[in-house]
């Protein structure tokens, strides 16, 4: 997946300014930035929930507007903070949505759903028949991840998926996601405002500031980042650790 010179304007304001970045298989690129820096807008441009004002996005080597919109979205997993699970469907029906849209056979869907629920740490026998309201926040988010992975998409878009969870559950899911990523070899674009999460999950961190790329670094290099915005994020990290100890 490649973003080329992407800009987006809402009214008079440029919320994204000449963004270029590439995400390859097996990579997790974390978009880090303050609220309102444009990171969610960038994510939504990729699966065309928003059509950008300027610039181009290539998915599997083809420009996104050239794709059949619905087929393309079914090949891009999408996980959001509010989970967006369908409240009137069971966990199994939620997780099996995209395979169903792609007309897989019932048996294949069930096999896939069981495999994925297993992979995100929910025993199918116990959870498949439950409804979202019968799950905790962490369990819902696990189902959200299973749903995103269901049709084995090459690309995952994740918009602060763990932000609403308590710290312990969040840490569990972060570890789980890191393990999943190693086994599944997906390209992932992960939006967060949490610098600790970025350092833990990223293979590359892209720091956004006011709609522009401020810094691109590996987690190791990010720790010695010299831009003001990187320093501001690192300062919040040290402050956090200082007060915790």
């Amino acid at each position: 997946m490649e973003v080329r010179n992407l800009s987006h304007r809402i009214g008079e304001r440029w919320v994204l300014n000449n963004i270029s970045l590439t995400v390859c298989a097996g990579e997790t690129v974390v978009l880090l930035g303050r609220s309102g820096c444009g990171k969610t807008t960038l994510l939504k441009c990729i699966n065309r929930l928003i059509d950008p004002t300027q610039g181009e996005i290539l998915f599997n080597g083809r420009s996104t507007p050239e794709w059949d919109l619905f087929r393309m979205r079914r090949q891009i997993g999408y996980v959001i903070q509010d989970t967006g699970l369908f409240p009137h469907w069971t966990v199994a029906a939620n997780a099996g949505l995209v395979p169903r849209l792609e007309n897989w056979g019932a048996e294949a869907i069930q096999k896939r759903v069981n495999l994925l629920l297993e992979a995100v740490g929910l025993a199918p026998a116990e959870y498949a028949a439950r409804y979202p309201r019968q799950l905790s926040g962490g369990q819902k988010q696990r189902v959200g991840i299973a749903r995103a992975l269901a049709a084995d998409p090459p690309l995952l878009l994740m918009d602060e998926p763990f932000a609403a969870l308590d710290p312990i559950t969040r840490f569990e899911l972060q570890k789980h996601f890191r393990a999943l990523r190693t086994t599944m070899q997906k390209a992932a674009l992960f939006v967060t405002h949490d610098v600790r999460e970025a350092l833990m999950l990223a293979t590359r961190i892209v720091l956004l500031k006011d709609g522009s790329i401020d810094l691109v670094a590996t987690p190791g290099n990010f720790l010695s980042g010299t831009t003001d915005e990187a320093r501001a994020f690192l300062a919040s990290l040290e402050e956090g650790w200082g007060s915790a100890s």
């Binding site: 929930l49 619905f70 087929r71 959001i80 509010d82 989970t83 967006g84 849209l101």
Partner: protein, 208 residues
Amino acid sequence: MGERLVSFGSQIISLTIEHLELVAFSIFVAALIAIPAAILMTRRATLRRGLMGLANVVQTVPSLALFGFLLPLPFIGGIGKHTAIIALCLYAILPILRNTLVGILGVDAAVRESAVAMGMTPAQILRQVELPLALPAILAGLRIATVTTIGTATIAAAIGAGGLGVFIFQGIASVDSAMILAGAVPAAAMAVVADEGLEWIEKRWSSA
């Protein structure tokens, strides 16, 4: 007075059936118009404002006056059942329209965004997500429409549409309270039964 009520027996039954037919047919047609209209209105904000305004205006016309207005119109007017059904329909449309609209627009934004992002087509989102989630609200709208239509339909007798209103108008004309009750009691009972029955259905569906 009890004896007199019993003497109306067979007529009560036939007028009750006539009344039910008036109501059922009106609600059916109203739903056929209101639900698709509401779906269109969720897609276009300008259409929403216009049609909602129109439906609100219709609702403010007193029912007896509306029957009067329809009488002289060619094709749709005149004495008889069809005029009554048109008027009852016009009244039933608003609650069904409003509840369907509120039900669909009330679907959680995150749920709708997920549905779009997962690659569902607009038709799939409507059928598999929006309508099922709006169903309790739609059923509540049908219930409100049915209960009010049972009441309003008694006035339809004034333009020769029959139903339990026949007793009520005859009773008023001849100052015969037993006859008024022979129309009013079954109509009230019908409204209560319809209300309870449809509420039961509503609860069953929304807990699924």
